[in-house]
Amino acid sequence: MKPIAAILGVGCTKVGEHWERSLLDLAIEACEKALEDAGNPPVRALYVGNAASELMNEQGNISALLADALALDGVKAVEVRAGDASGSLAIHQACLDASFSRGQEGAILVCGVEKMTDVMAPEVARIQMLFEDSRSTFHSGVTIYGLCALLTSLYMSTYGVSYEDIVLLAVNDHKNAANNPYAQYPFPITVETVLSSPLVADPIRLFDTAGIGDGAAAIVLKGPEGARSSSDTPVAVLASEVATDKVNICEREDLLALRSLRLAAGKALGRAGVGLDRLSFIELHNTTSVIGILSLEALGLAEPGKGVDLLKEGAVAIGGRWPVNTMGGLKGRGHPWGATGVYQVVEAVWQLRGEAGKNQVDGAEIGLTSNMCGLGSISCVHVLARWEVMA
């Protein structure tokens, strides 16, 4: 177990409809919190993850804009774009930077940000279709939730599973979000809440979908050397891995296998030298419940078709074998696309520092985060650990 980077500080805004605040306002708040949490080290590089600022906020080139706004004079600034996987990929690039530039002075700041409420919901749906192969999505008119609906139907018919059981993941998310002050939907729901909400794309209903929200999350990291002298509570990044799959789901050999996640997770766990049995908790990407369940199966926590059993048995609840989405996940915390992958790592750091409040996983030592674009055209997995675990 050898860390590739050390996380020194984290911060985020509440996810929500921040009508009075701009993309830049949100990013600045998250960055300032993370920098303060890290003890305000000098910053040598900024990485920004964002999916669609040009299309939603009439603003491009946001890494230079944010560096300027934060008065990080002359700093290196890089923007990373991969739909709703942008945030984790920004962290991935920052980890590469940290290991490539070993021994360099200064910390690296990573910010994931998305300001979605500047456009109407149907426009959000249209922009999200651009993250798939647009020749297919725009020709058929299938939305991301439409694609999730097709996978949900296939999952139900292939494995004889009910929709009621699938949406238990949304119920799990909301239960955890209720104790997260930064969550967009901090209240519990029941299966009945989901089933009585409006249909979005049959069989998927509104309370099975991640909402539309604004948010920013940030982390400060550096190379692993001397982490202990830079911070009292550094968190180790043991692995950061990325993999891709056929973008068009029609071309996938098995439509119910999230291959990019399986590949990225395999590489990440291998690099970390950690088996699934060592994971204390998992932050999953669940645009809808079925994607979260397929993720459990892609990670190897359940056989194909058996992911729902983990939900029914309570294995994914806090106190269960593999607590999932401990601060609310995409459904409860919210899903501001380019920020989501960074929120997941921020929340993992809270767990590993013992700062997760009522949702603290007892003795949390190692956590895994999985972030993807759309239906897994690209996946990025991080494995994080308490610094003491490596001693």
Binding site: E123, R126, G141, V142, L150, A201, I204, E251
Partner: protein, 140 residues
């Protein structure tokens, strides 16, 4: 959408033209220059079958901004007779009558209207295969 983009996409949208790998025989839609199965660059255009069967479907009730006037509409995952899978709207049907395995055929329809000039984009959609003989038989 620009006029060149329109023209570029006509083969795959109007005529269901895909690519066949001359080396391993795999067929793809939309077209591909490189075969992901065997790595060959030797690809030829091929017209796909206009008939297939429904594997799964959904009814889009929350549509993207430029398709809002169509909603609700049905999108199906369809396996064509040559084994290629496509996503397409399924029209001329009541969603309640749709079920996996249903036979479908391609038909040319309006997809969406672009911009203030009102440029209309056409392309394939699918509809249930009409079985005239079966209906005539029922009437006897």
């Amino acid at each position: 959408m620009s006029v060149p983009k329109f023209w570029r996409e006509i083969p795959h949208k109007y005529r269901l033209v895909g690519s066949r790998c001359r080396s391993c025989g795999a067929i793809y839609h939309p077209r591909r220059p490189i075969c992901p199965r065997c790595g060959s660059r030797d690809m030829e255009d091929v017209k796909l079958s206009h008939r297939g069967r429904l594997l799964a479907f959904t009814v889009i009730r929350r549509a993207p901004s430029d398709m809002a006037d169509l909603r609700p509409y049905v999108v199906g995952l369809i396996e064509l007779e040559d084994g290629v899978k496509v996503l397409s709207q399924v029209v001329d049907c009541d969603p309640a009558e749709l079920k996996p395995g249903l036979e479908l055929e391609a038909t040319l329809r309006r997809i969406r209207v672009h911009g203030p000039a009102g440029v209309i984009e056409y392309g394939y959609k699918f509809r249930p295969v009409i079985k005239w003989e079966a209906e005539a038989g029922e009437g006897q």
